[in-house]
Amino acid sequence: VRTLRQILIRLASSMSRRRDEARLREELEDHLAMRTGEHLRAGLPPDLARRQAVVDFGAVEAFKESYRDQQSLPAFERLLQDIGLAIRRMRSAPAFTAAAVATLALGLGVTSAVLSLAYALFLKPLALDDASRLVIVDQTIAGNDRRGFGLSMPDYVYFRDRTQAFADLAAHYSTSPMLAATRDGALNVSGSVATASYFRLLRLQPALGRFFSTEEDEYPGKHPVAVLSHHLWQRGFGGDAGIAGTTVRLNGTPFTVIGVAPEGFRGIVHGATPNDVWIPTAMFAVGYRYCDGLTRGCPMVNLIGRLDRDATIDRAQAELDVLARQLEAAFPDTNKGRGVLVRPARGIRIQEQMEEAPMVALLSAAAALVLLVASANVAGLLLARGLRRRKEIAIRLALGASRGRLVRMLLVEAVALAAAGGTAGLVVAFWSIQVLDGFFGVNYGGAARNVILSLDPRVVLVSIAVAIVTGFVTGLAPALQATRPDRLPALREETAGAGGRRSRLREGLIVVQVAVSALLLASGGLLVRSFLMLHRGPGFDPDAIVLVRTRPSLVGYSNERAWTFQRDVLRRIEELPGVVAASPGGTPPLPRWVRQTVLRHSRRDGGQPEQLQVGMAYVGPRYFKAMSGQIVSGRDFDDRDRPDGARVVIVNEVLARRLWPKGDAVGDMLEAGRGSVEVVGVVNDPQILNVWQQPAPMVYFNYWQQNRADNWSSDSQTLIRISGDAAALVPQIGRTIAGVDPDVPFSDASTLGRLLDYEFSDLRAARALLLTLGTLALVLSAIGVYAALVFAVTQRKREMAIRMAIGASRSDVGALVFRRGAVIVAIGLTGGLAAAVSAGPLLASLLYGVSPRDPLGLLAGPVVLAAVAVIAIWLPARRAMATDPMASLRSE
């Protein structure tokens, strides 16, 4: 306690320096006066008495030192002193400070933004009570690398009734499309079908009313009750306090609203569309129609569990493994090869995590590289300043400052710079996160996904720590170098020697910077090429194609009724002015959506029947017109192809060349699925599918000839080719569909260009980031090259002057500087390009229609870099040439 008290008092007295100085002086004076008085009394003359008193006292300065040390905390004081000094020094060199702080801010800001993204995607827990005990259970399928499959409800019940590891286990299907009839009209919302245990397990309290009871979740179809999100309650029902007990139609079925979920709760699936409605699993048929969600053959639910107090994930996994094997043995038809994966409820869905991981790794690597460049740059600046300050440092050393003290002073300066950079970096991070949120936080409709990307306090802490470490690391080498005694001739010679030692450390740093910027720019260039290939292939304009998804199956229409609806919709849309062609479709014309099928072909000459896997799509007449595909032989689908008539297909050129090398595809037969089909045409594929992969064999079936037993066959991804302004036409298309039948749910119409942007948002994000970061790195390294050479020229002024005095021409001297810069840049560029080529495989998943060694993509950035570097080298070289030998020799 005494020590603590002492520290506090000293701390306080450190702050109030002046008063204590007065006390020190006063004690000193008193002492001397009394001593003098004594000597006077002993008979000495006054001046001698005073002198003797001082002599008796001893070393006054030493006394002051020890008195001050006792008064305050010396180490702390010196630190404060150093910080004060660092701040004054930062203020006295605003240009240097601004450069260093901005550089570090960019590096640190981007790093924290990427860290925040990684956190949101992979680590962020649910914002719920005791979320660390919440786990997710998904199904795995032997031999399938994908993760996150659903389980069936009977499997869930089996697990729930037998598990020991879970305090509670709930099942939910949280991506149910729901058309909710609100007071202001129908809204497309995302619903969740959940067990009664769901809300209990999440420990939520309703904002209004109540959640489902166990009984309501017991009997299929008996209790149509629904819980609304706070958001939907406000938006669709004006926050009506009497909402509980009223009826709302969901996908055409009337439900009784029993409660409202707490504000801010939008479901538990990060990365999915936020949920707005919850219904019990007993009402599964309303939320999912393609199979009966309550049967074992329809694995649609994911599980969320709360671990028992002393259970671990491993124990839960081991326990469910045993149960899953029992199910596998009991129900081989549905459960063969099915296992479960238990994992913490963190981040987005597991499959998406796996898909985003390489992307985030790429961004992290790029951000780390930029931080490296920024640090190298600041270290370079500090080094240069250290050399310039040699004289100052020499004086300090001569006056008795220890080397440790000086190193500490220089380090504190570096760390103070880094801390300022880190603070400014938070601003950059905040901004970068907005940008990243634009890529990762919204779906193609622009609607927010359930990933809340924000600057996490932990990330802020980490980045501040990184800033301080950065400052320490970047400051250490320059500080040690600057204070090396053998580097301190400054006091002996008035000027640096004619030789001007080159700083290998500094040049090494610049090589690294140039290499990193070349690497980033080359990789960015590849992604730009990839994006251009995707988005603006020749003869293809995705912004002139509008997609709208209509789903009569959701409201339980029979296929006859639904197809009548689809026919009416197409007819009315094609009548709209500005519409060129419209076609129904089974899947959107996006690369990642292509389905696969197996074809068998018997040669006309009676050879071995050939079997091959090809891509497939259901399309209607005029699909190729809408998509700018060319029928090269035969005909398009048309009204001759009756739903119950002979089935016909169109094949693409790749498949035609493969099966009919002689070009006689039209009229031949193929075995596909339900029986034989006739080839009526050959088409060259729409550009977009080819961009994504090597042109692959593809077969197009007629939309109107689908199997009626498939109850989703009447849903359509309708494709509309327009001429003119999409923005004006899109709402008109929506009104037209609603005009045909207001009950049928349809998605917001959107252009294919927008869908592509969403579909390839990872590519866009990577491109934007790599290019931005690459440009930053380019600017930084250009400044680095420039500053280093200017510095070298200044240092070697005398050498140059002597060279010129003994006969070197101006251009000789210029070449000397130029050569040195060029060597540095050339080494950096070569290294960076080599790194870019070897990093190619990392990018491969983002490259569409571009080879990782595409020369144009790889070289464009580095060429710009080289051009900028030449300027950065030329300016100092010219300065060297402008040296007036006599003036600079005489000035010394």
Binding site: R2, R5, E27, G58
Partner: protein, 101 residues
């Protein structure tokens, strides 16, 4: 020593303390001002003594140090400790070979 002096002689100023200690020790112990004043400061920070400005004998103002209650307690503890230590050491010096056989 400082505490004891203050205890015996009452409030003193720094110089007085130095002189008294010299006298008590019979001039064998001269307290360096570089030791004394920081020590006084430390004791004051620890709360063992308190100080205030007051008039000195020859019409000068001087800082007077006096013992506080906590200081008195500390003095008692340290006196006891010292006595124990010296007692132990005395015994070692008094020891004769036959005493321990």
């Amino acid at each position: 020593m400082v505490l004891k002096t203050l205890d015996v002689l009452g409030p003193q100023h720094g110089y007085g303390l130095a002189r008294r200690i010299e006298q008590i020790s019979g001039d064998r112990l001269a307290l360096n001002p570089g030791t004394l004043y920081p020590l006084l400061l430390k004791l004051e920070q620890e709360g063992a003594i308190a100080s205030e400005r007051g008039p000195s004998e020859n019409n000068r103002k001087a800082r007077y140090y006096r013992l506080t209650a906590a200081g008195r307690k500390q003095l008692r503890t340290e006196t006891r400790d010292w006595e124990q230590t010296t007692a132990v050491i005395d015994r070692f010096f008094a020891v004769k070979a036959e005493d321990v056989t």
